[in-house]
Amino acid sequence: MNLLIHIQTALRGIVTNKLRAALTMLGVAIGVGAVIAMISVGSGATSSVTSRIQSLGTNLLTVSPGAAGGLFGGARQAAGTARSLTLEDAEAIKREIPGIAAVSPEAAGNAQVVFKDSNVNTRIYGVTPVYENVHNFHVEFGDFIRDQDLRSLSRVAVLGKQVVADLFGSGESPIGQTIKINNIPFRVVGIMETKGQSGFANLDDMIFVPLSTAQKRIFGDMALSSISIQVASDNQMDTVSSLVTSLLLVRHRISDPNNADFRVMNQAELLSTMSSVSQTFTLFLGGIAAVSLLVGGIGIMNIMLVSVTERTREIGLRKAVGARQSDILWQFLIESLTLSLAGGAIGMLIGVAGAYAMSVVGSWPFVLSPNSVVLAFVFSSLVGVFFGLYPAWRASLLSPIEALRYE
């Protein structure tokens, strides 16, 4: 009964001064919205960066050919030019070294690709079925290269998104079509997912064919351009790396490791970079949350302090006509609670919409942590109610005449 009157009085107070109420709610809404948007944008960007790093593969060893020549005094050529790696090397690694999940032998080269009157020069990868998992790069439509394709030297191809766009435009479905790679017809059986840029390579501008087909029909050369080794667990990277090195030295009959005709690249460094990056981002996010809570809170504090302090005379008048201290406190509690909650709800919408819009613009995933929403909402409401109630409480302690004379 009494509460009803208090609610009615408080709501009348809000309705009576719509502009003041709207500005107060706006203050709260911006406070809440800023916190939610900042935290969401921060965590979206973080997860985008970490997932990009992760997609490079942190438990990957890459064996690539060393420099050609040099061994008997000839001119030493650029790294990667030696034709030293073979499919047998890859099979030996897989067979003899423990702690390896998969080995992906790869032969790469450029070739002219033609479909009807479209014509592109792109990178051809001869791969085996494990490529997909080793590189965490999967087919999106159709099939990837299968074991039987390798055995039968099938002329099948899986295209990257960029190649699809270059060759087919947007109209036709490429699957089932026949393209020509160096004038040899290949049937398109699958399309890779979008991977994007990695270093200097556009991972979408590639065509995958069976390794055997690439070696025998396209390149006419049995050498591999790389062997990717997926190690079973991160902490075995160093062991596996040195085992691979010694195995290949023996197989290639090289006694001095300095003369090795291959290189083994370890991505353990990437792993430590990865964890320090994610640590930095965690701190960064915490900082953003703290700063935006502080800024939002101060904004709310200001608007509440100002708008309630301004009403000291109104409080004096209400007391002069018979309001108790508790009547005043109830009125301002309900008023500031209403404004804080309504402002907070609007702020949540603004924050979520803003964060979503920015994630679209920045093309990172839209991440909304419920914790941050609840934290922003509860914190802002508490700040709003406290600083709405505090000046009212102070004014209600004054005698009516002191409050009425307040300037």
């Binding site: 209400r318 002069a320 006509v321 009547d327 005698s399």
Partner: protein, 255 residues
């Protein structure tokens, strides 16, 4: 103090009994003694004007009598109740039910209709629901000549009209005593006369009225005049119904 007013010879009850009221503002060297021991008694149905220069303590006295402020020392009985001993809840009830206060600055809630302003005190009246006073509020506004303006907001009303709304507000809970702190101070002569006419009518209907004024012709319309200076009462005399002699009178006090 001997009260010479004829009213005291009636069987009327004393409504206000103040004894040695002192009020000090500030502390230490900065302390200012606004009231230096004021004793006063007012009976039911009196119409008292308090006069005095600025700083004479007349507003301070009125605020103490109207329970808007507490004295530093001294005793104040309102209808036999020791006001200084009341807590916040009891004081609020007293202000709500027994006292009507009219301010020089009107003090209406802005952006709120005249009707809602008049109804404001009933929000804090726990006897009857707020809505039950609506008709009474409209009648009071009609009584002060604002029957056609009940939904007007203060900024749409002249000063005199705003003061009449304030008087209607002071009357809504039917208090025994009306206090008015220079109710005509912000008004032109014509509006001031209208306000005074309302006060006189209310007094005739039995309300006890205590008002502050700077102007002799206003004071002349009361039945008793109290002069103050430097925080004490220097004279307390009954008037003899010569309230028509207005403009000719030299103002006794200038501020």
């Amino acid at each position: 103090m001997v009260d010479l007013s004829p009213a005291t010879f009636d069987a009327r009850r004393t409504i206000i009994q103040a004894d040695g009221l002192r009020k000090v503002y500030g502390e230490g060297d900065a302390a200012v003694e606004a009231l230096r021991g004021v004793s006063l008694s007012v009976d039911e149905g009196e119409f008292v004007a308090i006069m005095g220069p600025s700083g004479s303590g007349k507003s301070t006295l009125l605020n103490l009598l109207g329970c808007l402020d507490k004295p530093t020392s001294g005793k104040y009985l309102l209808r036999g109740i020791e006001v200084n001993e009341l807590d916040d809840v009891e004081l609020a009830r007293l202000r709500n039910e027994q006292i009507g206060f009219v301010f020089q600055q009107f003090n209406l809630l802005p952006r709120t209709s005249a009707l809602e302003n008049v109804l404001l005190p009933t929000r804090y009246n726990r006897k009857r629901p707020h809505g039950a006073y609506r008709e009474r509020a409209i009648r009071l506004l009609e009584d002060v000549g604002l029957g056609g303006r009940i939904l007007s907001h203060p900024n749409q009303l002249s000063g005199g009209m705003q003061q009449r709304v304030a008087i209607a507000r002071a009357l809504i809970n039917d208090p025994d005593i009306l206090f008015a702190d220079e109710p005509t101070g912000n008004l032109d002569t014509k509006s001031g006369d209208e306000i005074m006419a309302i006060f006189k009518r209310l007094n005739e209907q039995g309300k006890t009225i205590i008002l502050i004024t700077h102007e002799q012709y206003i004071a002349n319309q009361a039945k008793r005049t109290i002069h103050m200076r430097d925080g004490v009462i220097i004279s307390d005399t009954p008037n003899h119904g010569d309230d028509n002699a207005r403009d000719e009178r030299v103002e006794e006090v200038q501020s």
